[in-house]
């Protein structure tokens, strides 16, 4: 493949520079063009195999920079770009897919199926431009003068009402009640946001966080354990309480010089505390109780962090480098912003990554919905599900413990590949949004016929793909004891 990707001397051969012959000779020597292609491949391979002796050498690019350095620069960018969207797509996609499968042939199912097909058919470069145009520019315009008219409040509330009532099953009356209450709640919230200019100086405050924590505790108890499981509810509420209590020390502890290691440490602390909360609340059937407790603690703490970022918003917005137009359409960071404040930098990264993340999530999400729905429906038709129902288990238990676990098996392959794909980069997305990650490196390599760069990025991606397949196989056999690797 290497030799067929074009003639690197072509550009020079057509040039009219007086020192043409000399330049050609130099380039020939630099790129070892005097060695025939297969031999050149082995020279390259020797450098790659150096990985075992600790000297990985992928050669140099056309600009005489080390390929390894270029890749080392590109990888963090790409990881930043793709991690959030991949995780979001997996979580949202599987959740929606599962709901859609449980409510097969309901209004929600039909709507979701249609939406998913629509998203499936969207060319990402087109969506990206639309997002740039509508989300970024319009939102920035809106921030210049944050006032909503009543018509848009009504429309937004009505849409959110429709979405929320779609998740509710049952009689027509119940649907309308849900719609009405969510309509009123959203409208009230929007009017409050509008009147207080919340978008210019947002924040949640510990009361809202506390309420959300309690709501999360109830919600997760309902989903994972059932309301009659009081132990789970109490464990969830305790975790929520603990997280809210953490609010003040957290605010005091993290100043401008915070860093990610500190945040991760806090997260691990919260998770282990909530694990023990769940552990000590009950002695039998600890699983769901611990799940409720940990999820509540994690999300409530996440809200605390988001609150801290929101407090930086005003400062960020009024910074001369931002000038009240925060959502950016290109490049991963604002180079004009001169600050060492950890929260400012984080927020800056967040507003830059927002658009590509939305675009990538939209496209990747639909696949997960499709697969999760299909695989859960298949499992729900199995005999052991009938057995589980027949022995009188609650529908929640049947779905969460019997069906979902088995439905997840085929999805692990997809997840493993997508996670490996994070480092491969997203060529088109990076191109549209002007990021310089692995995808754009690959693109540049092809466009400038830079073989070493091409082979280097290619080798890394291929290596990751192989690792992903291996990981998927191992997870597969762990999840499904019937599968044995290496035996027929």
């Amino acid at each position: 493949m290497e030799a067929y990707a074009g003639d690197p001397l072509q550009g020079l051969a057509e040039s009219t520079a007086p020192n043409k012959a000399k330049l050609i000779a130099m380039l020939t020597q630099q790129l070892q063009l005097d060695v025939p292609p297969p031999a050149r491949y082995f020279l390259w391979l020797r450098g790659v195999l150096g990985v075992f002796t600790g000297h990985l050498d992928l050669g140099v690019t056309r600009q005489s920079r080390s390929v390894l350095d270029e890749i080392a620069v590109a990888i963090p960018t790409t990881v930043k770009l793709l991690t959030v969207s991949t995780v979001l797509a997996i979580v949202l996609g599987i959740t929606i897919g599962v709901i859609s499968a449980i409510r097969q042939y309901s209004r929600l199912d039909y709507t979701m199926t249609f939406t998913v097909f629509l998203l499936f058919s969207l060319p990402i470069f087109w969506v990206a431009v639309l997002l740039k145009q509508f989300l970024a520019l319009k939102f920035n315009d809106y921030l210049q003068d944050p006032r909503m008219d009543y018509l848009s409040i009504v429309i937004i509330s009505a849409i959110i009402g429709v979405v929320l009532s779609g998740f509710i099953s049952g009689s027509r009356r119940r649907v309308w009640i849900t719609w009405g209450s969510s309509f009123l709640a959203t409208a009230g919230l929007l009017i409050y946001i509008d009147k207080t200019r919340w978008v210019l100086n947002p924040g949640l405050g510990f009361i809202v966080i506390g309420l959300c924590g309690v709501g999360l505790a109830f919600g997760f108890t309902y989903i994972f354990a059932g309301m009659q499981n009081r132990k789970a509810l109490y464990a969830g509420l305790t975790s929520a309480l603990l997280s809210v209590v953490m609010y003040f020390p957290f605010q005091a502890m993290v100043g401008a010089n915070a860093n990610f290691i500190l945040l991760i440490a806090v997260a691990i602390l919260m998770l282990s505390v909530s694990y023990f909360v769940g552990y000590f609340f009950t002695e039998i059937d600890r699983g769901p109780v611990i799940q409720v407790s940990m999820l509540t603690a994690f999300l409530t703490s996440l809200l605390t962090v988001i609150d801290r970022i929101m407090q930086t918003w005003h400062k960020y917005l009024t910074d001369p480098a931002v000038d009240g137009r925060p959502v950016q359409t290109i490049s991963p960071l604002n180079s004009l912003l001169k600050t060492n404040d950890f929260w400012m930098v984080t927020l800056d990264g967040a507003v830059h990554v927002a658009l590509p993340t939305i675009a990538l999530t939209l496209v990747a999400f639909s696949g997960y919905v499709r697969y999760a729905r299909g695989s859960l429906l298949e499992v729900l038709n199995m005999d052991y599900i009938r057995t589980a129902r027949a022995k009188g288990l609650a529908e929640r238990e049947v779905i969460l413990r019997h069906a979902l676990r088995n439905a997840m098996i085929p999805l692990t392959t997809l997840i493993a590949f997508d996670i490996a794909g994070i480092l491969g980069g997203a060529i088109i997305t990076e191109n549209v949004f002007g990021w310089h990650g692995m995808g754009s490196l690959f693109n540049i390599a092809i466009q400038t016929q830079d073989l070493k760069l091409l082979m280097g990025t290619f080798a890394i991606t291929a290596f990751l793909a192989v690792m992903a397949t291996l990981a998927a196989d191992i997870i597969y056999s762990a999840l499904d004891p019937r599968i044995r690797i290496g035996k027929k």
Binding site: A5, G6, I124, I427, F442, Q449
Partner: protein
């Protein structure tokens, strides 16, 4: 959660079976599939749209084949071409004469979009056909013979999977020169059979163990005959569904490649190159940006729906959708008299 009592559940399931049985009574497999497909409304809508759309787009510019000595020309019904600069004034807003407006060079935009759609459709069909054929053959041979043939073919498949489409586009662009869309489509097709091959292989692996294959072998059928006459018809559902999805994917691949500049090259237009050229024109002339994207979505969406309908039709385990009223009638009939 609503609880149904046992008798009701039983009578409903009896009702479901009765309806399902009556619907398939006395029909051949093909008729059942066709009927199930026809019941899938979005799929039928997609199919009708695709046929109408293809005819509409291809008849717009007419057919121009043959070389310079013996040209075969059928003038289409649309008066403008992609090279003809019209005499209209202004910014090129959509008018009655030019419903999709004009581009920057005052070329009729409908002509450009329909040419792009034609190319996308053609590329799609070639990739789908070639990929489907190669994938079926590879998968069939690999799954049927097994052993070292299987191992070699599957490693070869793994190797092909790692080659990204963008690289193929680039290699064709630089090495072969601009051979036009046709060569691009063929090369892309040569590399797009991998997913299907794996699916077909899996299908063959299970089917070749079945009794009817043993029966055919005992009766003295050759390998070729067993593959084509006995196993392939049983795997055709998987193949058709997968090829439809390949079609929908390949239009996105082609437009994506063209968007990046590796696909369809300059004198020809593709929906991807149109979007790339006019993505900055959003504020002044939004129609230049909207139409190519909408066209891509329409094509891909209707093909996806057709694929979904086919999957439902071919899958025997698929629960058929039964209207609630029909079910009530049925369970009233079978319920023991009270």
């Amino acid at each position: 959660m609503k609880k149904k009592n046992n008798a009701e559940v039983e009578s409903i399931s009896v009702g479901e079976n009765a309806i399902a049985n009556r619907e398939t009574e006395g029909l051949t497999q093909g008729q059942i599939i066709r009927r199930r497909f026809m019941q899938h409304k979005p799929a039928v809508a997609g199919l009708i749209f695709m046929i109408a759309f293809t005819i509409f787009m291809y008849s717009a510019s007419g057919i121009h084949l043959g070389d310079e000595k013996n040209p075969i020309n059928y003038q289409g019904w649309w008066p403008y071409t992609i090279t003809q600069i019209t005499a209209a004034n202004g910014a090129g807003n959509p008018t009655w004469a030019h419903p999709l407006g004009l581009d920057r060079l005052h070329i009729d935009y409908f002509a450009l979009v329909s040419r792009g759609a034609e190319i996308s459709l053609m590329v799609m069909v070639i990739i789908g056909g070639l990929g489907g054929l190669l994938g079926t053959i590879m998968g069939a041979v690999s799954g049927f013979f097994g052993g070292w043939i299987d191992a070699v073919l599957m490693r070869f498949t793994d190797f092909i999977i790692t080659i990204p489409a963008i690289l193929i586009g680039a290699v064709i662009g630089f090495r072969v020169g601009n051979l036009g869309v046709f060569a691009l489509a063929i090369f892309l097709g040569l590399f797009s059979w991998t997913g299907l091959a794996r699916l077909v292989r899996g299908e063959f692996l299970t089917l070749r163990e079945r009794e009817f294959v043993d029966a055919a072998r005992v009766a003295g059928a050759s390998n070729i005959r067993i593959i084509f006459k006995h196993i392939l018809p049983n795997a055709i559902g998987v193949i058709i569904v997968s090829v439809t999805l390949l079609l929908a994917g390949s239009i996105l691949t082609e437009t994506g490649l063209s968007y990046l500049g590796f696909g369809v090259q300059a004198p020809d237009v593709s929906l991807g190159t149109l979007i790339n050229a006019y993505q900055a024109a959003f504020n002044n002339s939004p129609w230049l940006f909207w139409w190519p994207g909408v066209t891509i979505i329409l094509i891909a969406l209707s093909i996806n729906f057709i694929g979904d309908g086919l999957r439902d039709a071919f899958d025997p385990r698929q629960k058929i959708r039964i209207k609630r009223r029909q079910l009530k009638l049925e369970s009233a009939k079978t319920r023991p008299g009270k």
